[in-house]
Symmetry: C2
Subunit: 767 residues, 2 copies
């Protein structure tokens, strides 16, 4: 390949201007005549039978047009004839805030007043909020009426999830909606052969995706009943299918217009769109629903809480012998959790000759659990990376050396038996090892700081995709896609296409079309857009290039292989002055009587081998021993990105992921009381990391090229959000000697632990 002209350079995001100057038009900015604003009447109880909804007072409020309950929505039966899933409570509310009714009004204020005036007649039922209670023998049911639990969404985020563990299902405790079991070798023998064993128990609370823009969608009923859904979604085509199924119209009568997304992080695959569409059909008018912040905390789809007990043994030469674990993951009241991928990653970063993992997904009266950027990985990684760190200490080994000795490489097996393909974990560890922050860790410690490292890996998703590259009348190119640009991928694609034509990225327009006309691409998630749509763009651009060269060859009476594209013109190599511009090619193929076909390149990809990405993070912390407050003062993130097409964008992804990891480590957690009321339903109560809590982040890009990604690129979105909690916990351990196993490590928790340690130390000294 000749020297790249567009790829590999720090390129400003195409959508930066409108994002920065406030001119971006998000879904909630859309205004339509006749638009009705919707607000939800959420369940006051975490578990209750709903005996009636009294609408009269609400309907009397000026501006309130309708109060819709489940019975008012046109919900189609499923393909098998059974009733379809109603997005409103039919009779049993199973979590606090669950939508029972939808108030539609000509203004948002009127709708809000309407919500206050709707009376719901409840028959409260006991709420089960803790997994241990829910699984206890004889426990009541989280849902009196059960329905099937779907793993469809979890499978969108990683390639492993689609595979069953292949084990027979044991007899399950109450309210367990799913279980997993991975087993390899002889765990008892493994531990027997070990010289050191560490066993710890971890908990993680629910963590919200924390997007700036809450869940929002608008649906319009077009003439003849066709639906158009404008939505802040990561997955337009999936949303289209779900809306069509819900209201019972053929797919081609639903057009999903993917709008700019003000943050998704896995939480916006599909949530409120079927409700909004059904409401629009019910009243025949445009309906806009945007959750306010509290509704979003109550009724969106955060990352689940979990409890993990993990035991790992090793011999004194630093060889790991066995892993054993029991995991329980919240699956909310509606079922579904990323337990499986959590287990596969937890048991997948290192070589475990003997392994036994049992896991349970447990229903409780909480909201739906959803995907959070690298779903399941944060929780599983906290456990394994804490235990490995502790085990290294037990063995008296350097934690970096211990990891390097045991880390997986190509061919090593994951818990489900699948071998890792070519990965860059070792190289990423080595890159961090060489960094001054690691080399200088003793100096840091001398300054009263603790230094911790942790690994995070993500298998990476794969899904077929198609892209189009079209020559326009002005000689510029348009790339047409079906994938949503969540984080700069369209800019990356403009670079890929520009590279093919020797143009600047600014000469390429990238359009995400609506589902009516877009080429297929899956949801933007699973770190797979650049990896899978990128090759489709590259092939589409190459296809367009070949069409252009073929036209130019005929026009210039030269062989196509003797031509080159430079500065927007096709030239005969070595023959100055003989050229034809892209604009002329456009004219020769898109005007009356032209003899050449329009230039319309198409490319598709169907990569089945994923390109796992690994990050290794280093956190340096200070702890206020009085208050227990932890401050992250330095952060280094090394990551194998395969190849950075837009280094600025890749680094931006890492920065965001690190900030989120610090949130997991120290701040974020959704907290319910025993009756099921959410105590952290505002941003005053739910602590997102502020800018001042995030230190400057140093990044190290490691380049172990993938086989199938464009120019060797791998997905980079998920890995940087994974190791944060473990790295910070390990740094706190390094500094304080305390092994904190419950995240977030809020000041009160750490202060209590410091107090207890001090008490124990004093008591021990007094002995």
């Amino acid at each position: 390949m000749s020297a790249p002209v567009a790829i590999g350079t720090r390129t400003k995001r195409l959508d930066a201007p409108q994002k920065l100057n406030g001119q971006e038009r998000f879904t909630a900015d859309l205004k339509l005549p006749g638009l009705l604003h919707a607000r939800v009447v959420g369940s006051a109880y975490a578990h209750a039978m709903v005996k009636g909804v009294i609408k009269d007072a609400a309907l009397a409020i000026p501006g309130v047009v309708a109060v819709l309950t489940a019975a008012d929505l046109p919900i189609a039966p499923k393909a098998d004839g059974t009733p379809g899933e109603n997005p409103l409570v039919e009779d049993e509310a199973v979590f606090s805030g669950q939508p029972i009714a939808l108030v539609l009004a000509t203004s948002d204020a009127a709708a809000e007043d309407g919500v206050g005036a709707v009376e719901v007649d409840y028959d409260p039922l006991p709420a089960l909020m803790r997994m241990s209670e829910a699984m206890a023998e004889g426990a009541p049911m989280v849902r009196l009426k059960t329905s099937e639990v779907s793993d469809e969404e979890a499978s969108m985020h990683n390639a492993d999830a689609a595979q069953d563990s292949g084990e027979e299902r044991e007899t399950l405790p109450p309210n367990v909606s799913n279980s997993i079991h991975f087993s390899r070798g002889d765990v008892a023998a493994g531990f027997a052969a070990s010289d050191a064993v560490v066993e710890l128990s971890f908990t993680s609370q629910e963590v919200h995706q924390g997007y700036l823009e809450t869940q929002v969608a608008m649906a319009t009923v077009e003439p003849l009943g066709d639906l158009r859904v404008y939505t802040s979604t990561q997955a337009a085509f999936y949303c289209r299918t779900r809306v069509a199924e819900t209201v019972g119209v053929p797919l081609h009568r639903v057009d999903v217009v993917p709008m700019p997304v003000g943050g998704g992080f896995g939480g916006k695959f599909v949530l409120i769109e079927p409700l909004v569409a059904a409401a629009a059909v019910a009243v025949g008018r445009p309906v806009l629903l945007q959750f306010n912040r509290m509704e979003d905390f109550l009724a969106a789809n955060p990352a689940p809480g979990c409890e993990i007990t993990l035991k790992v043994g090793a011999t004194k030469d630093g060889t790991i012998t066995a892993l054993e674990s029991r995991m329980t993951f919240e699956s909310g009241a509606l079922g579904g959790s990323p337990l499986q991928i959590a287990a596969i990653l937890m048991g997948g970063y290192y070589r475990f000759p003997n392994l036994e993992i049992r896991g349970y997904e447990v229903l409780t009266n909480r909201s739906k659990m959803g995907a959070y950027r690298a779903p399941g990985a944060q929780q599983g990684t906290l456990a394994i990376e804490s235990v490995i760190d502790e085990l290294a200490r037990e063995l008296g080994m350097d934690p970096m050396a211990f990891r390097l000795q045991n880390c997986v490489v190509e061919g090593d097996a994951r818990p489900n038996g699948n071998a890792w393909p070519r990965i860059g974990l070792r190289q990423t560890l080595e890159a961090l090892e060489a960094h001054p922050a690691w080399q200088g860790r003793e100096e840091a410690r001398a300054k009263g700081r603790g230094v911790g490292i942790a690994v995070g890996g993500w298998p990476g998703g794969v899904e077929p995709a198609t892209a189009v590259c079209r020559l326009d009348a002005d000689g510029k190119m348009t790339v047409v896609l079906g994938s949503v640009d969540l984080n700069g991928t369209n800019t990356t694609f403009s670079q890929i296409a520009a590279e093919t034509f020797g143009l600047g990225a600014e000469d390429i327009t990238v359009k995400t079309a609506s589902t009516d006309s877009a080429p297929y691409a899956g949801g933007t998630g699973g770190s797979k857009v650049t990896y899978t749509v990128g090759p489709a763009v590259q092939k589409a651009a190459e296809d367009a290039r070949q069409q252009i060269l073929s036209i130019a060859a005929e026009h210039l009476e030269a062989a196509a292989e003797d031509l080159e594209i430079i500065d927007g013109a096709i030239r005969v190599k070595g023959v100055p002055g003989v050229s034809v511009s892209l604009r002329e090619i456009a004219s020769m193929s898109m005007t009356v009587g032209s003899r050449f076909e329009p230039v319309y390149g198409k490319g598709s990809s169907a990569i089945t081998e994923s390109a796992p990405g690994f990050a290794v993070h280093l956190a340096e912390v200070e702890v206020d021993e009085l208050t227990g407050e932890t401050k992250v003062v330095r952060y280094v993130a090394a990551q194998d990105v395969g190849y950075a097409i837009n280094p600025a964008s890749v680094e931006g992804q890492i920065h965001g992921g690190v900030a989120q990891g610090i949130g997991w480590a120290l701040y974020e957690g959704m907290h319910y009381d025993d009756s099921g009321q959410l105590l952290t339903a505002t941003l005053m109560d739910y602590a997102l990391p502020k800018a001042e809590y995030v230190p400057p982040i140093e990044t190290i890009l490691v380049h172990v090229p993938s086989e199938h990604g464009p120019y060797g690129a791998k997905g980079v979105g998920e890995p940087p959000s994974i190791p944060g909690a473990a790295a910070v916990a390990n740094a706190i351990r390094d500094l304080t000697g305390l092994r904190m196993t419950d995240i977030p490590i809020r000041p009160e928790r750490l202060a209590a632990a410091l107090d207890a340690a001090e008490t124990a130390r004093t008591a021990s000294a007094a002995d």
Copy 2:
């Protein structure tokens, strides 16, 4: 080919329901918050200098937001740096009704009031309304400030127009904007050798396209200044280019959304869109302009009036020897007319060994002249088909036999020297000859009716096009196009795609995308959509089919050539029970981890050989000798359509064309007084043929397959609108003996001619 399943069958139009029940959403039905309604202040004079526009009174009207004049519009300079064309009068108004200012208001009523309150200060100039005056020596200029005249639009409608006649330009009379000259052989010698010569002079008035929906467009300014234009256009991509050039933004920042068209007939390529877009940019709000009927009569782009003197000679054995003609065509005040194609057709239906045609496009102070379904053909055909009819009578020959003896076949030359490709004129004449209406013409005459026939031909347009055929998640197919569906072509394309998959047309969705994402197709005009986009659809469907078979082959472990698609499933031929459904193929190619690429077929066409279509019409008329009213009582339309993919749609096209032809013959004509005021500016004054004036129409479809069209289809839109005037005139001649040469043949004209003939007969009898 196996027996067709979808093509060749009478298929209901996909858009029939919404068109019939009133639910179609046209451009003027779009409502947007902040929308401003626009109305034009048209020039009160056919020619005047505009010295000033006083806005104050208009701006004082509640609801009026702005009064824009030329200086207020953001008009970009042309590529060569010269000032761009301003859609509002800058200083010289050159026709009555020409837009001088645009009043924008929050309601249409306020805008209309605003128009009444705008004061324009004029300095009137002499208006030239007749071509003879305009061409007279020493005539003043129609425009004091001339600018170049473009033939760009005319070239969209037919393949011949793009070619210059190749003759040197003579010194032209005043106000002649263009001239043509076609010459072959020795005309003087040809006439000398003839036994009979007929020379007649014809006139035709301006004829309006008469669409139900007047010119309408809405433009919105998107964040960052991008423009979206919703418009009733026949040519989305061309409109995009014109709008971008006018306001000076890159192409990719203009998205043209082609809306359902309530009638185009050539008059909606681009007209008001640049004005509406510039106005939206000027005020930063959405602007909707829909001409009312009077504005549309005053300032749209009707078919031009013309004067043709035509002389043809033949020997007594029925061999034509020579043609000589002088043609003058109105080109309005802005220039441009279909003179060239009129000449080529007039001299192209028959073999003329000697030929001389001179033609002039003449500026007068009339509105822009535009394309009318088969532009130029009606006028040229009236002349040649009247003269041929008269010449047959002179020779004592049957007019059908005379035509069959001289009609062109493949290889015969047109006036410009281009040879006709394979055509079906002879076969179409023969088909009509065999029809009972022709065979029984003596019986008709015995009932007091006249019978006339006439030929009409159209060269057919060509332009490259691309189409997409996509498999959706539900196993149905979507065809994505850039061509506007003016008359059922999308239904035809659904049949073409359905045929490829062995599905019903209802299993295919056809979407016309906006220019942001659509594959390229040219304007819907020139009878070229089915002919050129059709093959692209066919190839795209075939491409998709091959992709489907390839996936199925791998899945079923069979050879692709052993597979067949039946009832939405791919089966192994002769192996019952081994199959995979289209829905399963969709799932195997569009879900996480799938190993197959999405099915996304692409097809393009770049046909350079047109497929001319010929119609031969028979009209049977009765005439009220007292009032001069002509009534068409029977009508037979034979047409070579190549192959009728949707016979219902083809016949619908013929029905509409015949009705228009009757309009040209008997009713329609735009009439100006000498000062340039239009006297027929309402539908009370301008007579469109009502349903009661159109008899039942018998159609004969002739099938002379084209080489390149889908399944042999030819364009069918234009030919049926061509022969009507001549056929009716010939029928009147047959009945009354009067040769009417000025259309429309309104009752007063025919009554006067009947009176004159009666007077002459009486006088002659009295001698």
